[in-house]
């Protein structure tokens, strides 16, 4: 039985249809990626799954519990890292986690141990007594992930977990996230509008304008745009093209001084090319399709990269300033 089950979900805000007849399943112990540009309806879907919003129609289940009717059971089985931070910046890292442990009624004998373990897990144990406002974006995100795991949820939602982080923190966070299903026995549901980040997912659904436009494993999705492309430079390109076509039985052509070969299994094709062409090969380059290409092919547009979190931080600073001076 899938751990998350969504059937014909629709959510309307006035005359805006944020989620438009969405259905999908997520299997236990996997990483599921919900991909789409800003405003596609990812956060709205998460809010429905977390019982924070009621759907206009359709149904959603987590571990067999109806999100609209059994909100208490659903909430017990999930952890969530929201798109915008929900830590209390005026409390320390440890205090934020202790708060969470009480809120989720973690047994007294377990409380401190789980909090300590969580802090150690994200390498923040030595900073446990620092106020969260002193933390960097990456540290805050990790602390939120650790917090979301304290009550041992079955599903952990991560809404744009890497938004606003620098590239190094992003890589770092990903290495950490892909370990979670094994280490914590949890299913990950994550959203992102950075397509390349979704490569680590077992399954992906691509959402645009509230509708799922494609789903499957990353490899399956890439088949939509065709296979790999090999770029080849030889001493005599024209002669080589004929040879390649004849021997390998693939589609090849010359473009801008390079031979351009489309094939399904690019990596397996390269040794054969070298064997066929021998010494005349000058350089070989393999290009595999990215999920970005998939999105482009499906919608005819690029996934926009907006500096969303940058402006969010400014907004937050302005608010904090006004708050101090009001």
């Amino acid at each position: 039985m899938p751990i998350i089950k969504v059937e014909n979900l629709i959510k309307k805000f006035g005359n805006v249809t944020a989620v438009n007849d969405v259905s999908f399943n997520v299997e236990e112990g996997t990483i599921f990626g919900f991909l789409g540009p800003n405003g596609a309806g990812k956060t709205t879907t998460i809010n429905i799954l977390c019982a924070l919003l009621s759907p206009t129609s359709g149904r959603a289940f987590i571990d067999g519990h109806d999100c609209a009717k059994e909100s208490a059971l659903v909430r017990k089985s999930i952890g969530i890292v929201f798109q915008d931070t929900t830590l209390d910046k005026d409390l320390t890292a440890e205090e934020n986690l202790i708060f969470h442990a009480y809120l989720y009624n973690v047994e007294k004998s377990e409380r401190q141990k789980r909090v300590d373990d969580a802090l150690k897990f994200v390498d923040l144990f030595s900073r446990k007594d620092d106020l969260v406002k002193k933390f960097s974006g990456g540290m805050k995100r990790k602390l939120e992930v650790a917090r979301g795991l304290i009550h041992r949820p079955k599903v952990l939602f991560l809404d744009e977990p890497t938004l606003g982080l620098d590239p190094q923190s992003r890589t770092n966070l990903w290495e950490f996230i892909i370990e979670l299903p094994k280490k914590h026995n949890v299913t990950i549901f994550m959203t992102t509008h950075y397509m390349e980040e979704a490569e680590v997912c077992n399954d992906i659904a691509i959402i645009d304008n509230g509708k799922i436009i494609a789903s499957g494993s990353p490899a399956e999705l890439k088949k939509i745009v065709g296979g790999d492309v090999i770029y080849l430079k030889t001493k005599d390109n024209l002669k080589a093209v004929d040879e390649v076509k004849k021997v390998l039985n693939v589609d090849a052509s010359v473009k801008d001084g390079e031979i351009f070969i489309s094939t399904i299994k690019g990596d397996a094709c390269i040794p054969e090319l070298i064997r066929t062409l021998g010494d005349s090969v000058l350089s070989v380059r393999l290009q595999r399709p990215t999920l970005n290409d998939v999105f482009l092919k499906l919608t005819g547009k690029e996934i926009r990269e907006e500096g969303g979190s940058g402006s969010d931080t400014i907004k937050e600073d302005v608010r904090a300033y006004r708050r101090r001076h009001s």
Binding site: K89, Y102, L103, E316, R319, S326
Partner: protein, 254 residues
Amino acid sequence: MEFNAIYVIVAREFKKFVREKSRLISAIARPLVWLFLVGAGMSRLVAPVGGVSYMQFIFPGILGMTILFSSMFSSISIIWDKEFGFMKEILVAPVSRFSIVIGKALSGTIISTIQAVIVLALFPFLGLKLGILNIIGVILICTTVSFSISAFGIVLATFYESYESFSVIMNFIIMPMFFLSGAMYPVKLLPEILKFVAKLNPLTYGVDALKHVISPLATGPMSPDFNVFVDIGVIIAMSVVFVLIGGKAFERKG
């Protein structure tokens, strides 16, 4: 009811209150300014009536003011929690909305009562003589009133999304509540229309109950306006209503 959740909501608020020294200082300074600048000035205009000096007359009102401001500030912090996201951490937890409201109301109650007790300690300087029973009575009333005003603040906070509304609440709700509570002048001397408004104000009954306990022998215009049992009954009834409305308002989903 989730006692762990209620406990930790209160503990968080309390911890932040203790940490934020400026908040405590301004909370104590405000009643002192009113008592000794406004009260002492007015004492020269208003002669003692029925054995009560003007400073003694406004003392219950000053306790009421301490409670009003600190309870409202504590509850209105919900708006900040919404704005800065922390409210989501609470709302997504398996905790009933009712427990959240109780937790927030108790936070305001404890913080306000502590401040009221600090201000109460000034009574000997005003020539008031309070026995131990009166002091206990005052503290109990302060606790009940704090709970009621905190619960009222929560109801307000559920209707506001951003703290830009804060100055609206301050100017159009908190200040009128203070002036129309019998704190600075007796309700019985107000024009009819304002008397009507004062009777809708939960603080009015709190200040009145405090007058009963602090100056029990007062007569004439500076004496209490209502029966003490009516005061306490109204405060408790309003608290229940505010908690129920607050719980319902939190329940709202988009």
